[in-house]
Each structure stands twice: as C-alpha cells, then as structure tokens.
C-alpha cells in the first residue's frame, strides 16, 4: 500500500479506436479519458461531474474492468487491478461494485428479485439454497424492501424500488467500493431524495466508499466530500466540495455552476452562457481542452496543456488552467460570488 488510499488512479488513459474499411485500419481514436489521476480514501465520497461525453462514465467503467485501458494505473487497496483474470478478477469484482444509471434495463426481466439479488452469492460460491434466501432477505431489509418483494419480477416495481434492488444486489457481496453511475438520474425528485438518503445511511452503516458520478451538481454537492470536474476526458478542477462550489477556479466550473437554473424566480440571472458546442473527443486538438470555448482563453491556452495543480492556498484544491481565478488573491480580497452580491446591493 502506498498511502492508504482505497482506490488510486494514476495517469489513466482510455481510448476507443475507431476502425474503418475492409482492413479495419485505425482511423481515429476517441480519447475518452486522458491521463486522469485521483485517489479515494477509505470511507470517502468522491463526486465526478461533467456533461455528456466528458468521460466520467468511462472512468467508472475502467475501474471495474469494462473499458480498454491504454495506459496508466488503477490500484485498489494497494494492488493493481488492470487486466486481472481468474480468481483475483473475481475477487476484485466482489469488492468493487458498479450501480448503473437505468434500473429499467439493468435488471433481468424474467428473474425474480431473489434470483437477481442472490446471483452474486452463487457466482462467488458464498451461499446457496436456504442460506442464500436468508441473506437475500436480510439485504432487502437493509434497502427498505422485504419478504413480500422477494418472489416478484422487476417490472412490478417502480423506478425507485428497482434502484433499491440494484443496490441490494451489490451490497449482498459486502463490497468496499461502490461506483454509482448517475444512480438517480432516471428517477423523479421525490424518489431521488429517498435513494440519496438511503445511500448515505448505507455508507455510514457499512463503511462504504463511493465514486459518485453525476451530471447533477446539486446532487453531487449534497453527496460528496470531494469533487472532480471533468471536461473532454480530463479533470479540470478538483477539491473539497464547499471550497470548490464557493470559489471555483476553472472557467468551465464557473460556467457550469452559473448554468444551474435558480429556484428563486426573483433572483437576477448571473448566467454566463457558454458559446459553441462541446468538441468531440475524437483526436482533440493540443492545448487546453476547454480553450476553444473559454471566455478567458489567451494564445498560450491552445499551445500548452495546463497541468492539474494547486494555485491558491488550499492544498487540496487543484485546477488545470493557465489563468485560474483565485478567491483569496482577487483585488478586493473577496470571492467572485461575494463581490457579485456587493455589486447588486450598491
């Protein structure tokens, strides 16, 4: 073990090669994840946010071995887990579980809840028959379901209940790390609240670690202790949740935060609208991935790729930008949000 992190990702790169023609020549590569590094401490919730196509899902899938890793390293509990086969692969599969976004397509329609939830136990040779039934029931109760749900089929359940079944299926194997890929995006807000509360309870109870992937900034803020913002396969900003939300350093993070519609109809809009379309991750140009759309971009941005590093006084707050906005170094000595409030009042 290097430093006690449960999950350690170093310079991870995942490319999907596009081939074409009779000879299947390499035409281009979708650079889904481009040298991402992050660490998750035991018991932590790390939120990964970004828009469609930024690579957040691919990153999560790479951890469970579902994406082709080109280079870099993924270490779980100190050991490399890339390209495992046989027994170590099965053991990794038990300890790291992935929860999918859509509970309507992730559950087999012709199996009962007992079979859906208990299948992991059989596959890993942990329990069979009556013993399995007992364990299934116990875990169903943990997620707020019970005996009368055990012999029913997935289609008989609502979206929220299905997501509970998916959680039970993962938890029955006593995993240490849960990768939650948009676990509430397919649900209505009132149900979303129930699932988020359940996830928090389960984490406390079982000492779980979450990699929480979502495009919903409100949800990520509520769930996570630390956050990484992804853009075009790169983490552009990373830090503890509250400092990052209060004083975002990267221009993309600022735009993302200002894009959230406010619930207060009387609040004046301070929105920065992003121009242009998100570029494709197919052979992206050199330099900062955000440069073509960035309001603060200068000549250097399209030539030199900025590194993710500390800029302000907060050691945990990292940003990959040549011109980060630093709250503590701004002229009035105030964060951008505070100075905006003052302007409105005067």
């Amino acid at each position: 073990m290097s430093n006690g992190a449960l999950l350690e990702i170093r310079a991870l790169t995942v490319h999907f090669v596009l081939r074409e023609g009779l000879l299947q020549r390499r035409r281009a590569a979708v650079q889904a994840v481009n040298g991402v590094s992050l660490e998750l401490a035991q018991g932590e919730v790390f939120g990964l946010v970004g828009e469609s196509g930024c690579g957040k899902t691919t990153l999560g899938r790479a951890v469970v071995g579902l994406a082709p890793v080109l280079s870099g390293e993924i270490r779980f509990a100190g050991e490399s887990i890339i390209g495992l086969t046989g027994r170590p692969a099965r053991e990794r599969a038990r300890r790291v579980q992935l929860i999918f976004q859509d509970p309507y397509s992730s559950l087999h329609p012709r199996k009962t809840v007992r079979d859906l939830v208990g299948v992991g136990l059989t596959l890993h040779g942990l329990a069979y028959g009556y013993e399995m039934d007992g364990r299934v029931l116990a875990v169903l109760e943990e997620v707020g379901l019970g005996l009368d749900h055990m012999y029913r089929y997935a289609h008989e359940f609502s979206g929220g209940q299905r997501q509970r079944i998916a959680l039970a299926r993962a938890l029955i194997l006593k995993p240490e790390l849960l990768i939650l890929d948009e676990p509430t995006s397919a649900l209505d807000v009132s149900v979303q609240a129930q699932i988020l509360n359940l996830l928090k309870e389960l984490r406390r109870e079982f000492g779980l670690t979450y990699l929480f992937i979502s495009h919903n900034l409100g949800v990520v803020r509520y769930m996570s202790q630390r956050i990484g913002v992804m853009y075009l396969g790169n983490i552009v900003e990373q830090g503890a949740t509250e400092p990052l939300f209060r004083a975002p350093q990267h221009p993309y993070t600022r735009i993302l935060l200002s894009a959230l519609p406010s619930l207060d109809p009387e609040a004046p809009s301070q929105r920065q609208v992003l121009t242009g379309e998100p570029p494709t991750p197919i052979d992206p140009p050199p330099g900062c991935p955000f440069a073509p759309r960035c309001p603060d971009a200068q000549a250097i941005c399209s030539q030199e790729t900025p590194v993710l590093r500390q800029h302000g006084s907060d050691r945990a707050h990292l940003c990959a930008c040549h011109f980060p906005r630093l709250a503590d170094a701004s002229r009035e000595g105030k964060g951008p949000n505070e100075s905006m409030t003052n302007r409105r009042l005067s």
Binding site: A193, K200, H215, Y222, L260, P261, P265, V273
Partner: protein
C-alpha cells in the same frame, strides 16, 4: 372587468378528463384539469412522471390516440371549442396556431431531409401561396433569429450532423416559423446538458420578449420553471393541485405536495442533514383514491381528505389551491 380579462384569455381548459381503457381496467390519466393561459404568457406545468402533464398537452392538440379518449371537459382556444371542431379544422389549427416541441429533438426530426427543408415544409403546408424559394428564405431567416451561426450552411445539414442543442433550436424554428399563438413545449431541455440547457433557456426568454406567442412549458425541473414562467400549475396524479404566479408558488407554496416537492431538491441542504422525502408512492391511476389523491402521502391529512375531492380554494386573485387546509377561503367553481 370580467370582459376585459376574458378577451385576454387564449386557452381555457376546464374540468378536462382523459381515460385510457386497458386490459387491467381504465386508467384515469386526467381527473378534471382546469387552468387558463393568457396571451403572450408563459405557463409552466409541473409535476412528476405520470402526473398527466404530457397527456394534457396531447389533449389540447387532440392527439390522444384511441382507445384513449377525452371523456369530459372543455378546451377553448380563443373562445372556440376545440373538442367540437372537425378533424380537418383541427389539422388546420395544429402547426399554424398551436405548435408543440418535444423532448427528444432528434427523434422528432426526419433523418433523411435537410433541416432547412423541414422548417420550410411547415410553412408550405400552412401557407399554400408561398413558393418553395420564399419558404426556404423565411426558414433561413428564422434560423438566424434563433442565433444559429451561419444559417444557410446549417439549413443544408441533416439532423444527424447536428448536436442535441442545435437540433432543439431547429425544432423551435420549425414550430415558430408559422408564428403560432400558442407553443407547447414538452420537456424541451430535459435531454440536454446543463450548459446547452442554459443556452436554450436564454433563447426562449429572448424570444418571449420578441414574438407574440404564449408558451405552455411542461417540465419536471422547477429551476427551469422559475427562470422562464410567469405562472405555474402543479399537477399530481391527474389533477392540478396548485396554481399561481411563479413567485407565489415557488416561494410561498400552500399545497402540501408543492411544499414537499420543493423540499426534496438537494439545493443548499447541509450534507449532514437527511433530505426531505415524500413518503409512499404515487397512487395508481387505475383505481385513484377517493378524496384527495395526495392524502395517503400527506403529513397534514384530515378525515375529510379521504372522503371528498377538495375543490379549488382562492388564496389570492390568481392563486388557487386544491386542499382542504384552506377551506376557510372561497371556493372557485
């Protein structure tokens, strides 16, 4: 005063009921929906999956597919009873007077026709005197109004060559090119990323100032609603439970469901506090509960709530709440 307001009304939906017979029984999708929409106004229709928002939109356009049917109620558009029109008259109205934008723009566009031609086609259908050339010209103009860069070039593209945000702009262009009096938008930004959603919302706000169209905006996202709407109607299990100005409904909600819905959103909730969640599940529309549909989940339910359906009580000139907690207020018919 009454007369003055009446002429200002564009759309009146009154006690609308829609049902779908199924093998397992009749689904009562709408159970007496009532609301009004004034000219140039934006009304938001809010609510969760299955509450009847989209069915309401389809009913206004009379696009409920059989065996589903409108079993009761009235829909009046500029004083005309839409339910009494012939199918030919109705077809005349759709697209020229009332248009609709759908959630998934790429599914709504024809994949094998250039987008500019699709926008022009709408014009050609409704204004037969136009030549194809003028129609195409006006289509390109419309794209320019919507802030699409290099409109002549984009007009020659096919839908698959456009991003989601661009495709949604094309849809909006297609629906607005005939200058309809009412535009119905069903979750227009739900399939888009937040930064693209922000672009479309800014665009819709700018359009609202410029052109003479009323907007019925259907969304489950209350933030989107706060930004774009003048008034809001909140639906639950096939009925409107609360309606009023956007500021009143979102800042001082009076129906327990609206209050609960607003509290479930994880905005500015301290991470160590549990999120508020409404207990229980949405009732089945096969056998809707007698009385208030929300009563089984309501923390403040009283004996009367399970016995009778609450009428709409007027809390202000333009704030109606269907809840017995307000029975000391005058009921509206």
């Amino acid at each position: 005063m009454k007369l003055g307001r009446e002429s200002d009304l564009l759309l009146e939906v009154e006690d609308l009921q829609v049902e779908f017979p199924t093998l397992r029984g009749t689904v009562h999708a709408l159970q007496g929906v009532t609301f009004q929409l004034r000219r140039r106004e934006t009304l938001g229709l809010a609510g969760e999956t299955g509450c009847g928002k989209s069915v309401t939109a389809l009913a206004i356009l009379r696009l409920i597919s059989p065996p589903g049917r409108i079993s009761r109620g009235r829909i009046r558009f500029e004083g005309r009873d839409l339910l009494a029109l012939s199918e030919t008259e109705m077809r005349e109205l759709r697209g020229s007077q009332i248009s609709m934008i759908l959630q998934e723009p790429k599914m709504a566009l024809n994949p094998v026709i250039r987008v500019g031609d699709q926008v022009a086609e709408t014009l050609l259908i409704h204004e037969r005197s136009l030549t194809r050339r003028t129609a195409t010209g006006r289509a390109v103009e419309m794209l320019a109004t919507l802030g699409i860069p290099d409109p002549p070039r984009i007009a020659r593209r096919y839908p698959h060559e456009l991003s989601g945000g661009m495709a949604q702009r094309i849809m909006i262009a297609m629906m607005l090119v005939t200058r309809p009096k009412l535009l119905i938008a069903d979750e227009p930004t739900s399939a888009l990323d937040v930064t693209i959603q922000a672009q479309i919302l800014e665009l819709m706000k700018a359009l609202k100032r410029e052109i003479d169209t009323a907007l019925l905006l259907i969304t489950h996202d209350l933030g989107v609603m706060a930004e774009t709407c003048d008034r809001v109607a909140v639906m639950y299990a096939g009925s409107v439970v609360e309606q009023g100005s956007v500021a009143t409904v979102l800042k001082r909600p009076q129906h327990p469901y609206t209050q609960g819905l607003l509290r479930t959103i994880p905005n500015d909730v301290a991470p160590d506090q549990p999120l508020y969640s409404i207990r229980g599940l949405v009732p089945s529309l096969l056998q809707p509960p007698t009385g208030c549909a929300f009563a089984p989940r309501c923390d403040r339910a009283m004996p009367v709530c399970v016995q009778a359906v609450p009428p709409r009580y007027a809390l202000g000139a333009d704030h109606h709440v269907a809840c017995f907690l307000h029975r000391d207020r005058p009921a509206v018919r």
